[in-house]
Every structure is written in C-alpha cells, then in structure tokens.
C-alpha cells in the first residue's frame, strides 16, 4: 500500500490546477456558485477552451481525440476540475453518446458526429426515460417502425435535460415487442429539427427550466441513424450507463461545496457569536466532513483496484449511494447555515431581472437552488433504493 502520487503525476496536477485557475471564466464560476445552471453560450465557450487545450475528452481513446491519460491522471484531472468550482462539462455528447458512437458506430457515424462533439458544436440530449418507465428503463414503449429507408417513431420521452437547447437526441426505441423487454430495443440518433419533434418544458422544484418532455409524433429518422444492430440497443445503453460511473461519487465537488459551507458558517452571525463557533453546528459539519473523507478513501481504494485490473460491480452503486447522500447533506446544511434567510428564494429568471441588490448576504444565493436541484441526486440514474437492490444482489452472490 502506497499513498504517494509519482512526481510526474504531481507535476501534472499542478499544471491542471494552474490552467483552470487562469482560464476558468469568472461568470461561469459565479453562476455555478449561485446554484444556477450555466448559460448555453457560456458552457459551450468554456468547453471550446478545454478542447483547444486538448482536455475535453479524457475518457476517449487518443485516436478519436482523447488524452491518453492513465486512470490516475484521469482521477487527478477530475479532482482538480471540480475543486476549481467549475461546472461539469455537458455529458450527453462527451460522456454518453460519443463513446457509444466510437465503440459501436459506423465509420460514417464517426465521421459525422465525433468532431462536432469534441468541438461542442452539436448539443445532444438523452432520450431514455419515459413517463411509464423510470428506474425500470427496459419497460419503455416509444415505438420505431421501419418504413423504407427510415424509422417512423412515435412516443414520449421525459426528464430530457436541455432538450430545448439540443440539436440531436440519442434515443432508445422499441423495435420489437414479442420478446423480453430488453431484447426489442434499438439505439437511434434523432435530429431535433425533424418534423414531429416537440419539446415541452418541465419546470423543476427550483422553478428553473432544465428538464423537458419530448413528444415524437411520426418522426422519420433515416436508417443510417441506427447505432449498431436493430434490437441490440439495450447493450449499447448498458455500455453508456456503465461509462457514467467515473466520478459518480462527486467527492471533489462535495469538497468544494463543503469549503463554501465552512466559509458561510465563518461569517454568519448568531447574536454576538459566529455560527462556526456553535458547537453543535460545528459537529454537524465535522460529521459530514468525516463521511466525505471515508467516501474519498473508498473511491481511491476502488480506483486502485481498477488500476490493478479488477472490474468493479457493486462498488459503483455504493459510490453513487453515498455520494448522493453526502452532497444532499452538505446542501441541506448550507441552507440551514443561512438561518432565517434560508426562507428567501430567487429562481434564476427572477435573479437575472433583479435591479436592486441581491437579497441578504452575498453567499445566500445558490444554496437553496442547489439544495432543491440536488434532491434529485438520490433519484436519477437509478434511485438509491434501486442501487441498494443492485448491491444486495451482488453481495448475496
């Protein structure tokens, strides 16, 4: 057992840190710190900066534009990235459909899509969930019927993040039904400008619009947009979901948020004292910090197992479960730290239209928005209950 990173890795860490410090746009960081989602133009511009640096796709093979980093370097990069406070780059192209295309796509598909993903020219969205199928994804019922050189697609997708900004959607559709649910699913790419695609906003708990319903009404999609084989879509979807897990514990993001919480507690007054001097509040911070230390150690331990060539199974679910619980605990305690001002809440569009000063202390804004948004952390990507079912199966074996 050995704690140290190599001298080369430490130099790399320093390089990443310096680059982020010098290049992360202040406006992007400020919105992120306020618990607000990035504006489309801001995040695209930032992703182009990262692309120019060659760091936009650490998980892609070098031949397709990836970095060729070791697992350790990827870990170091992710860690520094989130410790900088930067908002996550948008996953749909870079971490979701991109790897599916370079792994299972035709040469034509690779040529058509990959470069635009790397350059953030195309905005993708994910058409997996449906009203009737939440964690039970395979029960989806959107139907694609072959008609000449196209599929005609009918159905409804839901929880489609940023669909209103998207150019393309990767989508699971049912192409066969007299079989096990998993066996009749295909993976297809849909141009969001196609006739019959309608996007309707879903306003979230935070009163912000990131989610959508997408209605597909006789949408014609060329057969060359099918990924891999018809009816094998479940395989590609599982591959995609498996790729989601790197950084799933969100340790560095939580460390960043925890540092913010401590800052707030260090300036919030409580009569003649400061909140940070309140022993029981301090204990609550301490407990979360300890949980986070354990999570970090666990993540590193699993990383070490991956480096040693072992495949992780239930471990990913464990990281997801605890990561989500811990970020929720941090965000909830941050709202608590605001005291009576915790009641105040401005969603993004009110914030942008405000012409007097911000409400209360500067640090107020963002805590509640992100608290509300993070309520979903234990729900999306398979609820914590489903994750526990998965772990239960694994440990019973």
């Amino acid at each position: 057992m050995e704690l140290r990173f190599s001298a080369e890795d430490l130099a790399f860490q320093k390089e990443v840190r310096t680059f982020l410090k010098e290049n992360l746009p202040a406006g992007l960081l400020d919105r992120s710190d306020r618990g607000l989602h990035p504006l489309k133009e801001d995040i695209v511009a930032w992703q182009k900066v990262l692309h120019n640096k060659g760091w936009i796709a650490p998980n892609w093979p070098v031949e397709y534009g990836g970095t060729g980093w070791s697992l350790t370097r990827k870990y170091i990069y992710d860690r520094e990235y989130f410790l900088s406070g930067a908002p996550q780059t948008i996953s749909f192209g870079l971490r979701m459909v991109g790897p599916v295309i370079f792994s299972f796509g035709t040469q034509e598909q690779k040529d058509t899509y990959l470069q635009d993903i790397l350059e953030s020219n195309t905005w993708w969205c994910q058409g997996f969930s449906e009203p009737g199928s939440g964690s039970d994804l395979a029960s989806l019922s959107t139907r694609a019927v072959r008609d000449g050189d196209a599929y005609v697609i009918n159905g409804q997708k839901i929880w489609t993040t940023f669909a209103h900004w998207a150019d393309m959607m990767f989508c699971l559709v049912r192409t066969k039904s007299d079989c096990k649910p998993q066996e009749g699913i295909s993976f297809i790419l849909i141009d969001m400008n196609s006739p019959g695609v309608e996007v309707r906003p879903i306003v979230g708990l935070d009163l912000d619009h990131t989610l959508n319903e997408v209605f597909l009404d006789n949408v014609r999609v060329p057969v060359q947009n099918l990924i891999g084989e018809e009816n094998k879509g479940w395989t590609y979807a599982k591959f995609l979901l498996g790729n989601e897990r790197s950084g799933i514990a969100r340790v560095a993001r939580s460390q960043y948020q925890l540092a913010k919480l401590k800052q707030i507690a260090g300036v919030e007054h409580q009569g003649n004292g400061l909140l940070i001097d309140d022993a029981s509040f301090r204990s609550q911070i301490a407990r979360i910090e300890i949980e986070l230390k354990a999570l970090e150690a666990m993540e590193l331990r699993y990383l070490s197992q991956e480096i040693a060539g072992r495949k992780l199974t239930a471990e990913t679910s464990i990281l997801k479960i605890r990561g989500a619980e811990i970020i929720q605990a941090i965000r909830s305690l941050t709202v608590t730290a605001l005291g009576p001002y915790g009641l105040a809440y401005e969603p993004d569009d009110v914030f942008r239209r405000r012409n007097d000063g911000p409400i209360g202390p500067e640090h107020l804004h963002g805590a509640m928005a992100d608290h509300l948004y993070q309520r979903a952390a234990t729900i999306y990507g398979g609820t914590n209950e489903i994750q526990r079912n998965i772990v239960a199966k694994a440990i019973a074996g």
Binding site: S129, G132, S133, G134, S135, D136, S139, I158, W159, I202, V203, G204, L205, L207, L211, E268, H269, Q270, G271, N272, L275, D278, S280, F281, Q284, S332, V335, T336, L338, G339, P340, Y341, G342, L343, A344, Y345, E346, V350, D356, G357, I359, G360, P361, M368, L372, R375, A376, T378, I379, Y380, T383, N384, E385, R388
Partner: protein
C-alpha cells in the same frame, strides 16, 4: 388528560377542510403564488368572515377567545392546503403583539380592523446578525418630539409588502444582546424613511428586508417591555406553525401512499416493496410523534405551565426532524415526478423547509433544550 377534539373544534376543522376543497386546489394555489400579492384578498375576506382571524384574540378585544389548541386545529387543517394568506404575520404575530402590549386605545384602534381583515399587520423582529436570537436587536428607537424615530435594518419580515402597518421591535436602551430595553412600535407602511426590499420565499410566500432611517413609530404600550411579549407571541406562533407542519406532513403522507400504490415499476406497484412500506411506516411514526408533541405543547401553553420554553424547543426539534424526514422521503418515493413544479409534493416539501427555518431552526432549539437539561 384528553386529546379529543371538542364539537366546536371539529366544526372549525371541517370548515377549514371545506375552504381548502373549494378554494385551494393545487392549480389555484400555484396561480395565487405567482401573483404579485402572493395571496388572495378574497380568501382573506373568508378568513375574516369565518372568524379565523379572531380566533386567537380575547373576547374583550372582539376575538373568539380561542386557545392554543384551537389555533392548532385551525393551522393544522390549513396545512393540507398550504394556504398563502398572511394569517401568521397579521393575526398570530402582529395582531397578538398589539393585544399583548398595546394600550387600550391602541388595541381598540387596531385589533377590530385586523380581525375584520381590513388592516394587515406584519411583525419585524429579526435582524441579519441575530440569526434566531430574539433579543439580539441592533435597531434603535429614540424619542423625537412626542414620538420615536427608528433606525436600523430588519430581515426576512414575513408579508411586509402587503401589510398596512408593521410592528417593529427596536431597542430603546441596553446593549445589542440585552433582553431588557426592547420596545415595540407601530410603523405605518408608508412611513418616511422606510425602505423595503421584497422577495419571494421558497414556499411561495413573500418576505421583505426593511431599512429604517429616522422612520417615525408609535410606541406600543410601555417602553422596554417588549421582550416577554415577543417571547410569548413567538412561542404561541411556533406551536401554531408546528400544527400546520403536522397538516402538511399528513398531506405528504396521503399523496405518497396514493402514489406508491399506483406507480408501477418492474411489473408491480412500488408500494409492494417492503423497503417502501417500512419507509411509509417510519414517515407515519414521525408524523404521529410530531402531532402528539404539538398537541401536548398546545395544552401546556393553555394550562400556563411555567418555563414552557424547553417544551416549545422539544416540539420544534421533533417537528423539524419529522418535517425533514417526511418531506424528503415524500419527494424520494415520488421519484422524478416529485422534482417538478407541476406536482404537489414538492410544494408541500418547500413549506416544510420554510417551517423548519421559522421561529428558530432545529439546531437553535436543540441547543436551547440542551442548555436547560
């Protein structure tokens, strides 16, 4: 020892339930919350006509002489609709401060109009540096001619934007943290030197920060006597808001039970999962505990039990914990749909969050309770 509702209390509860059914379906509430005012003056008339505003006031002041247990029946029932009208700020806070502290002249000048719903009050007591310490007051009041002028800043004043008069707690003597030296003042909403910053609260209500610069105010009752009155009024309001939380939690539990019994995943209702069933059990237990300790506290308030503040804190901690758990798990069991503005459970959750931060949060009251053991 009797936790049963009287006939009058049952009638009161049923009248509120009918009001919520008729005027507070979810779409109506959502629309109301988005208006500038944030509530409905037509509903407010009903509050007055039904006597709900008069409930907590003494009969000699035109009230119905209701006790803490009666107010709890009212607010618990209103909780199922998460109503938006300023019952707390106008009646239970501002109005009760006037009743507790005011001279006979002041009482007869203000209270009848409050009970009739014609005048709305707000109570400005908290300040940015005070957190939940009631007696930490930096705002000052100084004699000026026949009256007083006030200087300072008040924070998170509930429903100040719609108030006609604001009861402001200010310091007439003593250091910033002294309980002695606090006085209350009636300040007109249009008074000179009063600036407001209005904002929505997470639960769809309204609050304001106030800046007072040589703002004239009328002393409420005698000078230097506000602290005990403020304590008593906040204690009673805390009990009332805990009862509201009980009503809100009951609603969360009801819709969550309904949801898990109809939502299917993996070929069966999610409510068929034992883990979901036990979660609902723990939510029910939390609710039962919250309800019991709230009713117990209301009875102790009515009984005049001495040193009630530890019991108030115990109630607020228990209700705060329950609210966090029941609200959070209500969201969790709804999955994605619960995360939308379109579905009621999130709105209940937000009200529970707001209640946790009102009148001292769980940490504040746990510390207070612990200091007394």
């Amino acid at each position: 020892m009797d936790f049963e509702l009287s006939q009058e209390q049952i009638m009161l509860r049923d009248s509120v339930v009918r009001f919520v059914q008729d005027h507070y379906d979810f779409a109506q509430r959502k629309a109301l919350a988005q208006t500038v005012l944030g509530h409905s003056d037509e509903n407010w008339k009903i509050f007055a006509e039904m006597g709900w505003l008069a409930l907590p006031f003494a009969e000699e002041n035109g009230g119905l002489g209701g006790q803490a247990v009666d107010v709890a029946v009212l607010t618990e029932a209103l909780g199922s609709g998460i109503t938006l009208e300023p019952l707390f700020s106008s009646a239970l806070l501002g109005g009760r401060m006037v009743e507790t502290l005011g001279s006979d002249t002041q009482k007869s000048a203000i209270i009848p109009s409050v009970l009739a719903g014609e005048t709305k009050l707000a109570l400005a007591y908290s300040e940015p540096n005070a957190r939940f310490v009631l007696t930490y007051v930096e705002t000052t009041a100084e004699r000026s001619g026949e009256g007083f002028v006030l200087n300072g800043r008040k924070s998170v004043v509930l429903q100040a934007a719609s108030a006609d008069r604001i009861i402001v707690v200010a310091r007439t003597s003593g250091g910033v943290a002294d309980a002695k030296g606090l006085s209350a003042f009636v300040v007109d909403a249009e008074a000179s030197g009063l600036r407001r910053q209005d904002y929505p609260t997470v639960d769809g209500q309204r609050a304001s920060d106030l800046w007072l610069e040589n703002t004239p105010g009328e002393l409420l009752g005698a000078e230097g006597c506000a602290a005990p009155a403020l304590n008593a009024v906040i204690d009673a309001a805390t009990c009332a808001v805990c009862a509201e939380a009980v009503g809100v939690m009951q609603a969360v539990l009801d819709i969550t039970k309904e949801y898990v019994s109809t939502r299917k995943q993996y070929g069966r209702a999610i409510g068929d999962n034992q883990v979901v069933q036990h979660r609902l059990v723990d939510m029910s237990i939390a609710l039962e505990e919250a309800k019991a300790i709230t009713e117990m506290t209301a009875m102790q308030l009515d009984e005049g039990v001495p040193d009630i503040s530890a019991q108030i804190s115990a109630m607020k901690v228990k209700v705060g914990d329950a609210a966090r758990f029941v609200g959070g798990q209500g969201l969790q069991l709804h999955g994605g749909i619960g995360m939308t503005d379109e579905y009621p459970v999130g709105h209940y959750y937000k009200r529970l969050m707001a209640i946790e931060a009102m009148f001292g949060d769980t940490n504040h009251h746990l510390n207070h309770f612990a200091s007394a053991i």
